[in-house]
């Protein structure tokens, strides 16, 4: 059984765990079929069969895109003044299936084996809605199920004069590159300024040899693709983003949140 991630010529079939993906000719049409945890999707691809690219995408678009922020909560880590530490966390895998065009990609399907949960970072009038995920803390790269979890390398740097307790990181997924190979990975830095303020930045870094950057879904724009049943909207994911972006300023705390009743 080969990895599902990567480029696959037409026709293609993958069966692994509770996921099946296939492209094939049937009844005069090229067809895309996918099942995931019992959820089934079938699409008719107008024209002849074309290759698929499948890779992990920013985990902020399911079941509906309402935010670009990913929040990972982990057991508290206390870091001394001027100190630095590299932690390994995990993040949820959302799988994007793309059709390759001449210059760009169209997002054909998006699914995940991981149930989604959202949260609020900060107050309702100034904070941001985040995709929420709880992770353990690992000193080294953990072994993960590549269809379920990816590895988030978080480099902490404490610029404050006090010991700081950190138990969450919020990352802006716009421009985020997820690398994949044996497992998916993201590298991020967190510069701590005080017990409630830090800046996070996703960096472009491979965690293992042979990894390659995934096609991001965040630059998606609508296109229309003809189908047997009329036309339906798809999303064109542009070429991989190349511009570096500014980080996200976490200004509502680095530890557990205050509840709003």
């Amino acid at each position: 059984m080969s990895s599902v991630f990567g480029s696959h010529p037409f026709p293609f079939e993958y069966r692994g765990g509770s996921i099946t993906i296939a492209t094939r000719m049937a009844e005069g049409f090229a067809r895309y079929e996918r099942t995931c945890r019992g959820d089934r999707l079938e699409k008719i691809l107008a024209g002849s069969g074309c290759p698929l690219t499948i890779n992990p995408v920013e985990p902020v678009k399911l079941p509906k895109e309402i935010t670009s922020y990913l929040e990972v909560h982990f057991p508290a880590v206390i870091i001394g003044p001027g100190g630095g530490k590299v932690l390994y966390l995990t993040f949820p895998i959302d799988i994007g299936v793309f059709l390759k065009g001449k210059e760009d990609y169209s997002l054909l399907d998006l699914f995940s084996l991981v149930p989604q949960k959202y949260s609020l970072y900060g107050p309702p009038d100034g904070g941001v809605v985040t995709r929420y995920f709880e992770s353990d803390v690992h000193p080294d790269i953990p072994v993960v199920d590549p269809l379920v979890s990816g590895v988030l390398e978080l480099s902490l740097k404490n610029q404050a004069r006090d010991w700081i307790e950190v138990s969450r990181v919020v990352l802006d997924s716009i421009g985020m590159t997820i690398y994949y190979g044996g497992y998916a990975s993201i590298a991020a830095g967190m510069e701590i300024f005080s017990s409630s303020v830090a800046e996070t930045q996703v960096t472009r870094k491979l965690l293992a040899e042979g990894q390659q950057p995934g096609v991001p879904a965040s630059s998606a724009k609508k296109v229309t693709v003809a189908s047997m049943f009329g036309s339906f909207p798809l999303y064109t994911a542009g070429k991989a983003l190349v511009s570096e972006k500014k980080g996200y300023l976490m200004e509502y705390g680095l530890g557990d949140m205050i509840e709003h009743d």
């Binding site: 009038d125 809605v129 709003h260």
Partner: protein
């Protein structure tokens, strides 16, 4: 040189007058252009394109008009008479267009203050719906029934506005009544499991589920949830039916209003005792 500037061309207009007139009109044109560029830059993302075009033209022509009025004395036009006539006309037009001006000014304040944005889910006075357009004189709202409603900006500006999506998250509550004979703790647990499993019921602030009151016919369980503002209505619809089905499947009754009537018949022990 001075003789040339004093040379009369037409009527009493000299070459010098012509130069001054040209400079004033040119300056008015330049000022108009600069002001309109500034307006376009400032308002291009806040005002609808056609509205912005009208506003830009009105400002440009207004500045040009001031330039033209400034050069009129050179054509021997008596401005005092014009001012009197203009003043009277201004008062008449002012009375006639009072509401237009009021709406216009309110529109400008709305653009600057931005209490609502296009797509927002709002209630203004008695009108509720989604904001379709914010124009210079009016705001267009599409009600939840799909009805087009035009609200004058003056009314928008002076009314209480409830914007349901101004904040990124909001809370809503359910009160679920269960029978007195049912296990309230089990019902709480079932409801908590359902709401916690929903992706858009926020993890922080978390949901709270508790027995709120002992009603006439039911034990009332309060369910308080925070959701992304854009999703609250779909979550509300989705969860209520799931809660109802789950409680019913678990044999927990959601009772109708009911009253227990005790009938005392003559000869009952209670009567004898009394």
């Amino acid at each position: 040189m001075i003789d040339l500037l004093g040379t009369v061309i037409v009527g009493q207009i000299t070459v010098g007058d012509l130069i001054v007139i040209a400079v004033i009109l040119f300056a008015a044109g330049i000022i108009g252009k600069v002001v309109t560029i500034y307006i376009k830059k400032s308002l291009s993302d806040k005002v609808e394109k056609n509205e912005l075009k009208v506003l830009v033209r009105a400002v440009q022509y207004g500045i040009l008009l001031i330039g033209v009025i400034a050069v009129l004395p050179y054509f021997q036009v008596n401005l005092s008479g014009l001012l009197v006539a203009g003043g009277i006309a201004g008062v008449i037009i002012g009375f006639a267009s009072q509401s237009v001006v009021s709406n216009f000014v309110s529109g400008l304040f709305l653009i600057v203050e931005r209490p609502v944005s296009i797509g927002d889910n709002i209630t203004i006075g008695e009108v509720s719906g989604n904001v379709e357009e914010i124009r210079i004189l009016s705001t267009i709202i599409r009600s939840y029934e799909g009805v087009y409603t035009r609200v004058p900006n003056e009314k928008v500006f002076t009314s209480d506005i409830t914007n349901y999506v101004a904040n990124v998250a909001r809370r809503f509550d359910y009160t679920i009544g269960i029978g007195y004979r049912d296990d309230a703790e089990k019902a709480e647990r079932l409801i908590r499991d359902i709401v916690t499993a929903h992706p858009f019921v926020l993890r922080n602030p978390g949901p709270s589920v508790f027995v709120d009151s002992l009603g006439e016919s039911s034990v009332n369980i309060m369910v308080r949830l925070w959701t992304p503002s854009s999703q609250w209505y779909s979550v509300k619809k989705d969860l209520l039916i799931k809660i109802k089905r789950t409680l019913e499947n678990q044999g927990i009754e959601i009772p109708y209003p009911q009253q227990v009537v005790w009938v005392h018949r003559p000869g009952d022990q209670a009567d004898r005792g009394g």
